[in-house]
């Protein structure tokens, strides 16, 4: 489990980005629910924490793809692949994230950069 931030520091309607590789963001919805998903849009290199949170959906700040925070599913294009979702655990006022074991769906421009870096 990775500690993210104190719950008191994450107001409703806001997101907190964890700068791990790949980055993950925790969203606190207006209804008080907490969700964690991969922070990078699956379309291109945008941070979903910079996006627009509405209900259980986040809209990407660049080209307005929408992702369902509960499932990671794409609700509106251009993104074609879902983001991963991660488990959120709150203990003693601290928000933690338990990372998914699935492979992330990184956008092609980032996959290419990572592949280039590894070669």
């Amino acid at each position: 489990m990775i500690p993210a931030c104190r719950l008191a520091d994450l107001p409703r309607g806001e997101a907190h980005r964890l700068d791990i590789e790949p980055p993950v963001s925790v969203f606190h919805t207006d209804d008080g629910e907490l969700f964690a998903i991969d922070d990078t849009c699956t379309h291109q290199d945008a941070s979903l924490a910079d996006g627009w949170l509405e209900g259980c959906e986040v809209e990407c700040p660049l080209h307005a793809s929408k992702f369902d925070l509960r499932t990671g599913a794409v609700d509106a294009p251009p993104a074609k692949l879902p983001v991963r979702t991660h488990e959120v655990v709150v203990e003693d006022g601290m928000v933690h994230v338990r990372l998914s074991a699935d492979a992330p769906n990184l956008p092609p421009c980032i996959s290419a950069r990572l592949a280039g870096g590894a070669a």
Binding site: S47, V74, P77, P108
Partner: protein, 387 residues
């Protein structure tokens, strides 16, 4: 309605086809496209695809599991619309009868007279254009971009990152003054000079020199700029020639209402070819941006299926983005007619700011450079403030 034909198989056409199915239309759906490709995304053609960081498969607009139950007639150019027979004529002589028609034929790159047949000279609109340009850029050397608009600026930025020696030539005194205004046009186009890319403004192009391969761009002031590759980025014209004589009203594209309804019943127009009525400004405008081509077909399809019995809603303010030299540029609204522009966050020197355009004290546009978070919030508020 038993058959709907969508003419133009790109972003706006695909979006219309999706909307038809989402709204429960279960009749025959025919999508006619001149290019042989399935719908693909154009913005990366001047950015990631040209840079070689993404491939052709990544450009696909459709999801792998997407099934629209449409007949795709690709590599098929529409040459006419017969309003009485309700038929679309194709270049190969075929005819598609349809009781509903969505016109989504987009725009084509303008060219320079006299550039034909000279190797090394390119325009950039299609995947085929992008492949050819990418091959030429791979040889390195000197690139001259004619036109400092968004597509030209993005090509310059990509070619700079690929290590080419780049010059941009712009006829107007300030590039991007049309879409961004003089002040911000100057700020954004300074990205070229920030990176050592030459920017020549206020000078027209007289012609190109070279026997079979382009060698130089000749300027009206007598200068000659040596070039191995030239990109002509002087805008686009709507692809509506095929509608001449059909009886549909054409005026800088297909003239239509806020919801895409044209002068012919059962025919709507969407995307870059549509010159739609904007209730915000009280004028018709043809907006060549990706987001409009994606979003506006929903209203047009609703109007088509309701046989025009819908009230056109108020369209969202036009939004576009551009990526240049690693800087994200985002814009919403309309700069023309603004009487002031103020930087409200960040600073133009840092190329990281939010600027608000106003007319008589009312916000009419917002520009962001490298501020996706603030811009997104401003854009959401813009929607409510402007209505």
């Amino acid at each position: 309605m038993r058959t709907v034909a969508v003419v133009g198989a790109s972003l706006a056409g695909l979006s219309a086809a999706r909307s038809l199915r989402q709204r429960g239309y279960d009749g025959r759906l025919v999508v006619i496209g001149e290019e042989s490709h399935r719908p693909y995304d154009r913005p990366p053609l001047s950015k990631e695809f040209l840079a070689g960081t993404i491939g052709e498969a990544d450009l696909a607009l459709e999801r792998d599991d997407e099934e629209l139950h449409a007949e795709w007639l690709l590599g098929a150019r529409a040459t006419g619309l017969d309003r009485t027979a309700r038929a679309i004529r194709l270049a190969d002589g075929r005819e598609v009868r349809a009781d509903g028609v969505v016109i989504a034929t987009g725009a084509a790159a303008r060219t320079l007279p006299g550039a034909e047949g000279l190797a090394g000279v390119h325009v950039l609109r299609t995947l085929d254009d992008a492949r050819a340009l990418r091959d030429d850029l791979a040889r390195g050397g000197r690139l001259v971009v004619i036109g400092g608009g968004f597509v030209g600026a993005e090509v310059a930025s990509t070619a700079y990152a690929l290590g080419l020696d780049v010059t941009v030539i712009e006829a107007a005194p300030t590039p991007l003054a049309g879409p961004l205004g003089e002040t911000m046009g100057a700020v954004v186009s300074a990205l070229h000079t920030d990176h050592g890319v030459r920017l020549l403004c206020g000078v027209g192009v007289k012609g190109l020199s070279g026997e079979r391969q382009v060698e130089a761009v000749l300027l009206e002031d007598g200068r000659s700029v040596p070039a191995d590759t030239v990109v002509v980025g002087v805008g686009a014209r709507p692809c509506v020639d095929w509608l001449e004589g059909s009886g549909i009203t054409l005026d800088n594209g297909v003239k239509c209402g806020a919801d895409g309804r044209t002068s012919l019943a059962g025919v709507v127009a969407v995307g870059d070819c549509a010159n739609w009525y904007d209730p915000h400004t009280g004028t018709h405008r043809r907006v060549e941006h990706w987001t409009g081509a994606l979003e506006r077909p929903a209203a047009a399809v609703a109007a088509l299926l309701a046989h025009g019995a819908t009230e056109p809603g108020v369209p969202r303010a036009p939004y576009f983005w551009s990526d240049q030299y690693g800087v994200k540029i985002q814009f919403v609204g309309q700069a023309a007619g603004a009487d002031s522009v103020t930087v409200e966050e960040g600073s133009t020197d840092d190329r990281s700011f939010l600027a608000v355009y106003r007319r008589a004290g009312r916000q009419v546009a917002v520009l962001g450079m490298n501020q996706p978070r603030l811009f997104t919030r401003a854009r959401k508020q813009f929607g409510t403030a402007a209505s």
